[in-house]
């Protein structure tokens, strides 16, 4: 090849190389960088949202816990039935009296616990809770009366003995016969789901 041919070919080579290099620098390389950035962004996003997957993996456990909560809430509902339903209350009082070997002579609704509305305990109740009082009178031995009291407090939902009195039963022949008068307060708790906004509101303990 003569110098002219070499020069011509060299010029063409340089031009072609420049064009190709320019195209690469102007188009291919930026797109490659963009693709790289997009992949890094995607990787970062997936990494950041890995917690969702963890939560998702723990979801069965959360649902199991939720089921337990609902079961316990149902138990509360069951325990609250004497406070919400007078017939249930009466049946349970009679059952307890029979078990404790006392004779219940009267069960009288004593109205809502209006006298306690201003105290701290009343403030603990939330809308949906139920609080009713009953005056119960009857007869029985000292031990039976104590057992009756114990079962009232322990086996009849949330039952608070507001006051009681026992006096000897002078009308009977048994030496240990007593007359008792008990005022109880039955409270039905509303264990239904509570929105977080309600927690800090009225009725919070």
């Amino acid at each position: 090849m003569n110098p002219d041919q070499i020069r011509t070919l060299g010029a063409k080579l340089v031009i072609v190389t420049a064009i190709c290099g320019g195209l690469y620098v102007m188009i291919a390389d930026p797109m490659r960088s963009t693709a790289h950035d997009a992949e890094i962004k995607l990787s970062s996003f997936l990494s950041e949202n890995n917690g969702v997957a963890t939560t998702l993996a723990n979801l069965p456990e959360i649902l199991e816990s939720h089921d337990q909560t609902l079961r316990r809430a149902a138990e509360y509902e069951e325990r609250s039935r004497p406070a919400r339903d007078q017939s249930v209350m009466f049946a349970q009082v009679m059952d307890i009296a029979e078990q404790a070997h006392v004779v219940v002579e009267s069960v009288t609704p004593n109205g809502e616990s209006a006298s306690d509305k201003n105290n701290r305990k009343a403030e603990a109740l939330r809308p949906g809770d139920t609080s009713v009082k009953y005056a119960i009178s009857g007869r029985g031995s000292y031990g039976a009366t104590a057992s009756f009291l114990q079962q009232l407090q322990n086996n009849m939902g949330c039952c608070i003995v507001k006051n009681f009195s026992i006096t000897p039963d002078y009308t009977k022949t048994e030496s240990d016969g007593l007359q008792f008068a008990i005022t109880i307060e039955l409270i039905g708790f509303d264990a239904s789901p509570l929105a977080i906004s309600e927690i800090s509101g009225e009725g919070s303990p």
């Binding site: 797109m31 998702l56 789901p193 977080i196």
Partner: protein
């Protein structure tokens, strides 16, 4: 008919111009002319220029315009020689050595002119104490000759691709024929009689012992026949070149026992002296080659093959064989027979086929290199652009894939977040509701005394000498208070006062009682005995449910 399949061979020498067209080995057409030596231009280039019009006419007649053409020529400066080099050095070194050796024999600089070095044969055997050789054919010609041929053929409408110097073709063809006929240890000699030169090769199986050019060919014989003969003080030729050529190839070499020809005016006694010198030259060259090229012990065993266009001259082969006293072998391959039927150096080209030793014009080589380089640049550019395009497409695909994955992941995450958040909110609300209820229950229950426990404790603390007439407990505010009414009686040992004090002490010691306050106490009589009536006010301790049973069990006393 497709022109690409045609093989066009143009043969150009100072004495003959010929064009031959083949297709797949079949002769399609042939044109030939013999310029009269007397009219011929002594300048080779000028003679070539004069041939141009005739060639153009032939190209048109044979319809071969644009066909690739092999040019078989004999130029004024053409160099062709075979150089031997030890095979141990390799073919490339042998070629380089041949080039260096050839450069010493040429009058023009090799590097600036057309040249080629071709390995013709590599020995597989060697005499004892000697090395195997590589036989390299070196060809060279001036750039001017090649360019003149190129321009002439291009102007005539042909596309010259190979330039084959006729001596080089003869050398290559002779060596190939030697290899073809040397099938055993018997040494063979091939005498290839070309138009302007002949080739003598000798060798044994697997070895070429010698290969040399002899400047005697058929045209030498024609020239001899057309030479002026001095008789009666006049020097006139017996015949012209064309007649001499025809006579040579029809009647052959005159022999003493009978020579048949068409011209009654010719006598063998007149013709023989004309052709005898070149024939004798061939014989002498042949004898000398055998003497110096082959070992003494094998010289008597040598067999001779006469081939090339000169082998078609009747009687020439027999004359030579008789003179050198060698047994003559016949052509063994069909192709060799075909080659023999073609006149001129074209037969050498046909014998070699695609292995023709060709040289290229340096200008054309340079143009070809430039063209190839330009093509390579464009191909490279196209490949680079394709690579860039592929890269762009790949990057674009990556971007799209990443964006789609991102959108999908974003949507899934949003959905999961929403779903999980809702589930979590529900679970949390339920849990909060339950927890709140538990807290409220604890708040309310924890402030309530366990009255059953108090009654049981009171029963346990009350001795036989103390009787309770009324027990009243009531919640007052945050605390539960109780009032116990009763009386204590004296017994035989202890007074009622002591009994009462023991009772009060027992009450005060009771962990269920936070505070004990004595109210009214009166001396009285009960059941006929001295008694002390009393009123005791108690403040109770809040006792968690269930704990009272532990305390009762600890006393070991059954409740009264």
């Amino acid at each position: 008919m497709r022109k690409a399949q045609r093989q066009v061979i143009v043969e150009i020498s100072s004495t003959r111009h010929e064009i031959t067209v083949f297709k797949k080995g079949v002769l399609l057409g042939r044109r030939s002319s013999r310029p009269n030596a007397r009219d011929a231009d002594p300048d080779w280039a000028a003679g070539l220029l004069a041939f141009e019009a005739e060639l153009s006419l032939w190209v048109t007649e044979l319809d071969i315009e644009g066909c690739q053409t092999t040019v078989l020529y004999t130029g004024p400066d053409t160099i062709a020689s075979v150089y031997d080099c030890p095979a141990a050095g390799g073919e490339q070194r042998a070629k380089h050595a041949a080039k260096v050796a050839m450069a010493r024999t040429t009058l023009f600089p090799i590097e600036q002119n057309a040249h080629a070095e071709i390995s013709l044969y590599k020995d597989t055997t060697a005499p004892e104490g000697d090395h195997t050789q590589v036989h390299t054919l070196a060809l060279a010609d001036t750039e001017g000759t090649i360019m003149a041929l190129t321009k002439t053929l291009e102007r005539a409408g042909l596309r010259p691709t190979f330039f084959v110097p006729a001596p080089g073709a003869s050398l290559a063809a002779a060596i190939e024929q030697l290899d073809e006929i040397t099938v055993d240890t018997t040494p063979r000699v091939v005498l290839w009689i070309g138009e302007h030169s002949s080739v003598i090769t000798a060798g044994e199986s697997g070895r070429v012992a010698l290969a040399r050019l002899v400047p005697v060919g058929t045209e030498t014989l024609v020239e001899a026949l057309a030479r002026p003969v001095v008789s009666d003080q006049r020097a006139e030729p017996l015949m012209d070149r064309s007649t001499a050529y025809d006579l040579l190839f029809t009647s052959g070499i005159p022999v003493s026992d009978g020579w048949h020809h068409d011209s009654p005016s010719l006598d063998a006694q007149e013709v023989l002296p004309l052709v005898q010198p070149p024939v004798q030259r061939l014989v002498v060259e042949l004898k000398q080659s055998i003497r110096f090229g082959l070992r003494r012990d094998v010289r008597q065993l040598v067999k001779l093959l006469v081939s090339g266009p000169g082998s078609q001259i009747p009687g020439l082969q027999e004359t030579i064989a008789k003179e050198v006293s060698l047994e003559v072998v016949e052509q063994i391959s069909a192709r060799s027979a075909t080659v023999q039927s073609v006149q001129g150096d074209t037969s050498a080209a046909l014998a070699l086929g695609s292995r023709m030793p060709a040289i290229m014009s340096r200008t054309r080589t340079s143009e070809r290199v430039v063209s190839n380089t330009r093509r390579a640049i464009w191909a490279g550019a196209v490949m680079a652009l394709a690579a860039i395009g592929t890269d762009v497409i790949a990057s674009r695909s990556r971007i799209v894939a990443a964006q789609e994955t991102m959108q999908q992941a974003d949507a899934e995450t949003t959905y999961l977040n929403s779903d999980i958040s809702q589930t979590m909110q529900t679970a949390l609300a339920a849990r909060q509701g339950l927890r709140h209820a538990q807290v409220r229950e604890r708040t309310l229950i924890s402030g309530s005394p366990q009255y059953a426990a108090v009654l049981r404790a009171l029963s346990a603390m009350t001795p036989e000498t103390v009787s309770l007439t009324e027990v009243v407990f009531t919640e007052e505010g945050e605390r539960a208070t109780g009032t116990i009414r009763g009386w204590a009686v004296a017994d035989d040992e202890v007074s009622e006062t002591v009994r009462f004090r023991e009772f009060v002490s027992a009450i005060r010691a009771c962990p269920l009682v936070a505070e004990t306050t004595l109210g009214e106490t009166l001396r009285t009589r009960e059941e006929g005995r001295q008694a002390l009536s009393f009123i005791i006010t108690l403040e109770l301790v809040d006792l968690p449910a269930g704990l009272e049973m532990t305390w009762i069990d600890a006393t070991g006393e059954p409740p009264k």
